[in-house]
Amino acid sequence: MLTPTYMDYSSTTPVDARVANKMAKYLTMEGDFGNAASRSHYYGWQAEKAVDVARSQVADLVGADPREIVWTSGATESNNLAIKGIANFYQKRGKHIITLKTEHKAVLDTCRQLEREGFEVTYLDPLANGLLDLDLFKKTIREDTILASFMHVNNEIGVIQDLQSIGDICRENKVFFHVDAAQSAGKIEIDLSLLPVDLMSFSAHKIYGPKGMGALYVSRKPRVRLEAQMHGGGHERGMRSGTLATHQIVGMGEAFAIAKAEMKDESDRTLKLRQRLYDGFSDMEEVVVNGDLDQRIAGNLNISFNYVEGESLMMAISDVAVSSGSACTSSSLEPSYVLRALGLSDELAHSSIRFSVGRYTTEKDVDDAIVLVREKVEKLRDLSPLWDMYKDGIDLNSVEWAAH
């Protein structure tokens, strides 16, 4: 069977073969399968050594000290640990948290849980291009604000927030700053030795490492303390108990080391592919890029083909694996909350497709995708009563629709 071309790298990435080969050495009897917490024998020491190397590899990519890296099961857990950990530890100082409406559900739902526990959360509207309104943020900070959580790069629209400026505001106001960097680590420069960031979440599988593996950066200077969410053997300096998954950790370390070595070239190459894809659509009628096109990660193109419903387009271009902000792709039947928060109309949100290209995407993949998408958009517009109305000059907003 011919498999579809993968253009959904923001969703997950394949494990790099170099990473997989290395991981395989930490599983079997012949390999270093030991428990890093076994301090009394060779097997434990070998595992501990491998974990230390990986911790340095992750720290190196982001300009952190290895002692500032806490292993977790992924960015979702890192976000939970950071936000709940700060809230629980510092609640005597205040119970107010600020975040953005376009954050990942792992942040939003964690905040919702804290609201149920008596915290107050402000969910800010982003600007129309997806970026945080710094003045609005400043005005929202109160005496009792303890934490601000903003993602570095948005998973749907790929826009990059200005961490330096946000962090400066946080420091001035003595507010802890947590950043979800699942989509940015290894793709754009991050230097935590300079950035005013207190906590940062990482994921391995977004950057050619294994799924089920992540890390949380917890700053030592200034010192940040957390209340553990997972209790047990006191691993990870008490912040996250549980036997370390050596092979997963080694995989994340290797993936981050490769990213550090190849980031510059890879980013240039990916940007060219994204640009090529965009150029292939830019002369079409009624095509809108969602989110800022300049302040955007190289691999992401979130684009709406107006008057064509996203899910039916995905079905038509099933030779290319992409994702859509259309309601029909979710079980809730609501269109993407991220696109809605940008102020997009429901119909544009329903019509959106997210292409994300990466390490194994070729120019031919992009060219084939362009041909396919153009053909199918045309076909679906021929099928679309809304396209007819647009062509007849009817303003869709003037029509009284029977919402259902």
């Binding site: 079905m315 269109p335 329903h350 009563p385 029977a402 919402a403």
Partner: protein, 129 residues
């Protein structure tokens, strides 16, 4: 989501796509749904002197199931009387296409569309008398 064979067939080869003259006295038009909800169906029927639907056309903005539901509907209504057509139930469409629960609303929309088209035609007829 994986689609059934019949949905894919109607989606890839939609039957009776097109437009009838909505001003014509023998044409009834039903437009249902809303862009904000992600689906809009326009179903048109052409009715002969005996009250039988002799032609049907559709255009649909929506997911694959919505397109398939309307395509199937145009096949079903042709040759039926108005009363007969207005009695098509969404459950029959959902069953024929094996729609999953989350897509049942697409078949509901199709049922609404044929009811609206029949009503539109009957209004025109009444106005002529």
């Amino acid at each position: 989501m994986a689609y059934g064979k019949k949905v894919l067939d109607h989606y890839e080869n939609p039957r009776n796509v097109g437009v009838l003259d909505k001003e014509a006295n023998n044409v009834g038009t039903g437009m249902v749904g809303a862009p904000a909800c992600g689906d809009v169906m326009r179903l048109q029927i052409k009715v002969n002197g005996e009250g039988i639907i002799e032609d049907a056309k559709f255009k649909t903005y929506g997911c694959g199931s919505a397109i398939a539901s309307s395509s199937l509907l145009t096949e079903w209504v042709k040759g039926r009387t108005l009363d007969d057509a207005a009695q098509i139930k969404n459950t029959e469409i959902a069953e024929e296409l094996a729609l999953p629960p989350v897509k049942i609303h697409c078949s509901v929309l199709a049922e609404d569309a044929i009811k609206a088209a029949v009503e539109d035609y009957r209004k025109k007829l009444a106005a002529q008398v």
